[in-house]
């Protein structure tokens, strides 16, 4: 198991490197470097940039030097000082802006993941065991609908309904009185009271596809000979179901975290924009629209790393569940 863990950690290194390169490419993509954009922006506001400050920035980011030097300087800043560069849109170091938002994104994605599992698992089992029953058809239909509805549309519809019929706003993660308040138990409770709306919206598509996956896996497993063996032993049907096929079908279910998590993080980004949640989404889109590239790329990079770590955790969970993988 330890060896497995070490190998997985080792596998992560190239992935993380690749992520950082992609993020850096995104920084480099817009025409011109950020300094010229910054100077232009300041000039537009009738402010002059201090020559010394400019030179310092130029030195810090290695502007004017070859691209790989710039990349290395950026990486060096991140690894040694936790410095992701500056956001010119906010006139602040990126690191001051990202962490709080990232934490909330993390909470939101994790809550959505739990929601997806808790809902999809029993429904998937039911659908497979009662294949072609009315309940199965209903679940399938809702599943398809959930898959077909872009979650931002779902967010808009929910907002409209809440506004029109309950005259209420469903946006945000905190009530006004807790908006800027420091963390207390009351604020945590308030967060959870608001959290369920985005969680349900973000989780819908994932739930729909997981139900289908669980159903298909379980149907596969139900036809396997070992189920017949267990039945021939005289096990009661429900005990047999949970001990064997459901248990085996659980493994691919757990391994789906690998791709459910990226979808959830994606969903969280776009839903947060619609519901204006204080997570990474709204800040990311603003940064992108303003071409505030260090901020945007840092967000993309950190979200990706978060996802990769999530996938790693799911792999470990899977290895713990499945002896075949553990002993590979």
């Amino acid at each position: 198991m330890l060896q497995f863990l070490l190998r997985r950690l080792l596998y992560m290194v190239p992935t993380l490197l690749a992520i950082s390169i992609v993020a850096f490419v995104i920084i480099q993509l817009p025409p011109g470097d950020f300094l010229t954009t910054m100077v232009a922006a300041m000039a537009a506001q009738d402010e002059d940039m201090d020559q010394a400050a400019m030179a310092a920035l130029e030195e810090q980011y290695g502007l004017g030097q070859p691209v790989h030097i710039q990349y290395l300087k950026w990486m060096q800043g991140i690894v040694t000082r936790g410095d992701f560069g500056d956001s010119f849109g906010w006139n602040k170091p990126v690191s001051e802006l990202v962490w709080g938002r990232l934490a909330l994104t993390f909470v939101l994605s994790l809550a959505s993941l739990l929601f997806v599992w808790v809902v999809a698992f029993p429904i998937g089992i039911y659908s497979a065991v009662k294949q072609y029953s009315i309940g199965d058809y209903f679940a399938t239909f809702i599943g398809f609908l959930g898959l077909a509805t872009p979650n931002f549309l779902l967010a808009l519809i929910l907002m409209y309904i809440a506004f029109k019929f309950f005259n209420q706003s469903v946006g945000g993660l905190f009530s006004p009185e807790y908006q800027e308040a420091p963390w207390t138990w009351g604020r945590v409770a308030d967060l959870f009271a608001h959290l369920w709306v985005p969680v349900v919206i973000i989780g819908t598509a994932g739930t729909a596809s997981l139900i289908r996956i669980m159903r298909a896996n379980l149907l596969d497993e139900l036809r396997k000979p070992y189920v017949v063996t267990a039945r021939a032993k005289g096990l009661p049907e429900w005990r047999l179901l949970f001990k064997y096929p459901v248990r085996v079908a659980l493994n691919p279910f757990v391994s789906t975290v690998g791709w459910v998590l990226p979808t959830l993080v994606s969903g969280a980004a776009i839903v947060s924009i619609v519901l204006s949640l204080p997570t990474t989404g709204p800040l990311l889109i603003r940064a992108l629209l303003q071409q505030d590239m260090y901020l945007a790329a840092s967000f993309i990079m950190l979200l990706s790393i978060l996802t990769v770590i999530g996938t790693l955790v799911s792999d470990l969970l899977l290895a713990w569940l499945d002896p075949r993988i553990r002993m590979e």
Binding site: K224, P225, Y226, T229, A232, K233, G234, R324
Partner: protein, 356 residues
């Protein structure tokens, strides 16, 4: 001497209801299994032999269903009440009280308590694919002790001990260590041995072996068959062996049932079937086996003319009619041949013998 009857199958019909039509997988089968004896059911793939076996345990897969007939289980007594004691036949019981219980398995609810008490305890089964017939993610020990704990009141460590004993008995080296291993760590032959140990865990009166040696290599095949014979001597269970291999039949069988397209073609003791086959199908089957030393002038090996008809378009009259060399137009395609008794436990379904 004829040993007591264990299972009596009468006019069993198991059909599969598919969208394309009904497949009459088993269509009116009669035969008898005797205690302590080995019955081989032989036939080409798709002739319904597996479905017959599964019907006995009521584990036919959806959308299959027993639609007619009886499967009478003459339940012998246990010598000890523990649930896994020695069996005693109805005859031994006859000196005092000969109340052998008779249960119609076909009439039981497939999910009910009665049939579940019989599965794994009175009748157990091993399957063709030792690879997939064991759960990949549960340990060998877990899967063996499961049936023991289900049917007896043994405690965990007693069940473990019993499982070790069984594994040793089926010839698995270092059985104590094997309890914690997973099936994928074992070879095919070892897995089949685990299956056998599992099936024997409650000392059943009947062991159904559904092509147990098809998926293993020839050497292992011989070992497994030998093991089954040894175990039969020791535990005294009856064996219903399903196979398409006539060599296996010759080696193992006391009685033989030849099936063709869901029906019995012919049945009888192994000697009469091999030395005096009556049904044209049995005759052609026997002719299609290569024999050492009997190669007459490099004659080509006989094969049976034609193909097994597809299950939706069954021929009228005799199922074998269209492929039969002795086909009698007007009779064989009109009359479904009844069972014609030829002796004790011996009958043939063929109009050729109608007058005898």
């Amino acid at each position: 001497m004829e040993s007591p009857v264990l299972i009596e199958i009468k006019n069993l019909k198991t059909h599969f209801f598919l969208d394309e039509g009904t497949v009459q997988a088993v269509n009116g089968v009669d035969f008898t299994i005797h205690q302590h004896k080995t019955l081989c059911v032989v036939g080409e793939s798709g002739c319904g032999k597996s479905v017959t076996a599964r019907s006995i345990l009521q584990i036919v897969d959806q959308p299959g269903r027993i639609v007619e007939g009886e499967i009478l289980y003459h339940r012998p007594f246990r010598l000890s009440a523990a649930g896994n004691g020695e069996w005693t036949s109805g005859e031994t019981g006859a000196n005092g009280n000969s109340t052998t219980e008779i249960i119609d398995l076909a009439a039981l609810d497939p999910r009910g308590r009665e049939i579940r008490a019989i599965r794994g305890q009175d009748i157990s089964m091993i399957f063709q694919e030792p690879m997939t017939s064991l759960s990949p993610i549960h340990t060998v020990g877990n899967q063996i002790t499961e049936a023991i704990k289900l049917h007896t009141d043994m405690l965990d460590d007693e069940a473990d001990e019993h499982a070790v004993e069984l594994l040793r008995r089926v010839g698995i080296p270092r059985p104590e260590e094997r309890l914690g291993t997973y099936p994928f760590e074992l070879s095919g032959g070892m897995r089949q041995r685990v299956m056998i140990a599992m099936a024997l865990s409650c000392n059943p009166a009947l062991l159904i072996a559904d092509e147990p040696t098809t998926a293993v290599d020839v050497t292992t095949q011989a070992q497994i068959l030998e093991l089954l014979e040894e175990l039969q001597d020791e535990y005294g269970m009856a064996i219903m062996l399903i196979t398409h291999d006539l060599g296996v039949v010759a080696e193992m069988a006391d009685d033989v049932v030849v099936m063709y397209l869901g029906q019995v073609a012919e049945r009888g003791d192994v000697d009469s079937i091999f030395h005096d086959p009556k049904h044209p199908y049995t005759q052609s089957l026997l002719k299609s086996i290569p024999r050492l030393g009997v190669s007459r002038n490099r004659q080509r090996l006989d094969s049976i003319r034609g193909m097994v008809p597809d299950p939706y378009n069954r021929p009228s009259g005799c199922m074998f009619g269209p492929r039969c060399d002795h086909f009698m137009p007007g009779r064989c395609d009109a009359i479904s041949p009844p069972a014609i008794p030829l002796g004790p436990g011996r009958e043939v379904h063929c109009l050729l013998y109608e007058d005898e």
